[in-house]
Amino acid sequence: MGAALAVLAGFGLLAAVALMIERVAVLVDPTRIPSCTLNPILSCSSVMTSPQASAFGFPNPVVGIVGFTVVLTTGVAVLAGARFTRWYWAGLQAGVTFAIVFVHWLAFQSLYRIGALCPYCLVVWAVTIPLFVLVTVHNLRQVPGLPPPARRAVDVAHEYRTAIVVGWYLLIATLAAQRFWDYWITLLP
């Protein structure tokens, strides 16, 4: 649990920092093509400069840099043998729940409003989904006095958590494939 949290949050943090650096670099030199702009679809230029990229009035990666740091630290602390009170886990649950909603809003905007995918953002989506599943299943298992059917459902979710994450990935990958199909198909030799 601790290792998974730390590794996932670590990748998320790297992506958020990279995105922030690219953004500053573009502000310094507006003619610069960011390293993450590969073609018209895989492009952080169009995504970074959209209004959605500053959903709260400041650049989104700021949220990621702070949030992923907290999760990374929590994971390392768990690895080091720390034990947290229930309200700490509840706080983490609030955080990953906010993250999963935010990421899906961004995914919708990216696919259907902006019409481009930014590679670093994809990394953030890809780590947020397992973080949410992991933390949520972990917390549900700690809830005392669950009725037996709910308890069994939680156990099944826990056993199949990898499959849940994989299914979730495939769902989003399918939407991205479908949305830009006419473009992807032109890339084939």
């Binding site: 073609n39 400069t49 473009y183």
Partner: protein, 213 residues
């Protein structure tokens, strides 16, 4: 192997299978002729490339970028050539998008073209290049304002603008351009031969020579 892992692998397998089927079904048919010859080398002109004039004696192809200043600078001269010789030469537009808003500008022209107003949008884009060009952000809203000004059906314009097929056409132009040796904009081809242009007069003299020479 755990049951969760097995289920994951089954899901991935199904997805790969679905992907392969989708590719096979929707893959554009490569005609036998394109296999035998020009296919991989890129085409100078495609059947659906926009034509600004329809004359039949000479064919002039311009690889342009609506945001490039040189393209904007040569625009009044190509307009002049269109006015004087438009009934005699065919003027074909290809895109070579190299700036932040180039692709969106080309999409705006294509979307206007779908409603029969290609040339109107083409004119507006060049005439107001100073307003929208060289901004930090891709100028989507500005192009929508232009479309509204031209009295286009905005629902349809938005759908055409966001159509991935339009983006694919522009990207295909870029690939064709690279394949035929375009490295900057504007680049002109007269009857299939790339024109070396040092001044705007070169374009006119080359065209007149091809027409009358």
């Amino acid at each position: 192997m755990s049951r969760s892992l097995r289920l994951s692998l089954i899901l991935v397998g199904l997805a790969v299978l679905a992907l392969v089927v989708a590719v096979v079904v929707t893959r554009p048919q490569s005609s036998p002729s394109s296999d035998s010859g020009a296919g991989e080398q890129g085409e100078l002109v495609r059947p659906d490339s926009p034509r600004l004039t329809e004359g039949s004696e000479v064919q002039l192809v311009e690889f342009l970028d609506f945001e490039c200043e040189s393209c904007g600078a040569i625009y009044p001269y190509t307009e002049d050539l269109k006015a004087r010789y438009g009934d005699r030469f065919e003027f074909v537009v290809r895109y070579m998008p190299l700036h932040v808003s180039s692709v969106n500008a080309a999409l705006a022209a294509e979307a206007a073209g779908a409603q029969g107003s290609y040339e109107e949008m083409y004119d507006v884009l060049f005439e107001r290049q100073a307003q929208w060009g060289h901004q930090q952000t891709a100028q989507r809203e500005v192009f929508f304002d232009y479309a509204e000004e031209l009295g286009l059906d905005m629902t349809r314009f938005e759908a055409d603008f966001d159509d991935p097929a339009a983006l694919a056409r522009i990207e295909r132009d870029r690939a064709d351009g690279q394949a035929v040796g375009v490295t900057g904009t504007p680049t002109f081809f007269l009857d299939g031969e790339q024109l070396p242009i040092d001044s705007v007069d070169d374009l006119e003299s080359a065209l007149i020579e091809a027409l009358d020479g």
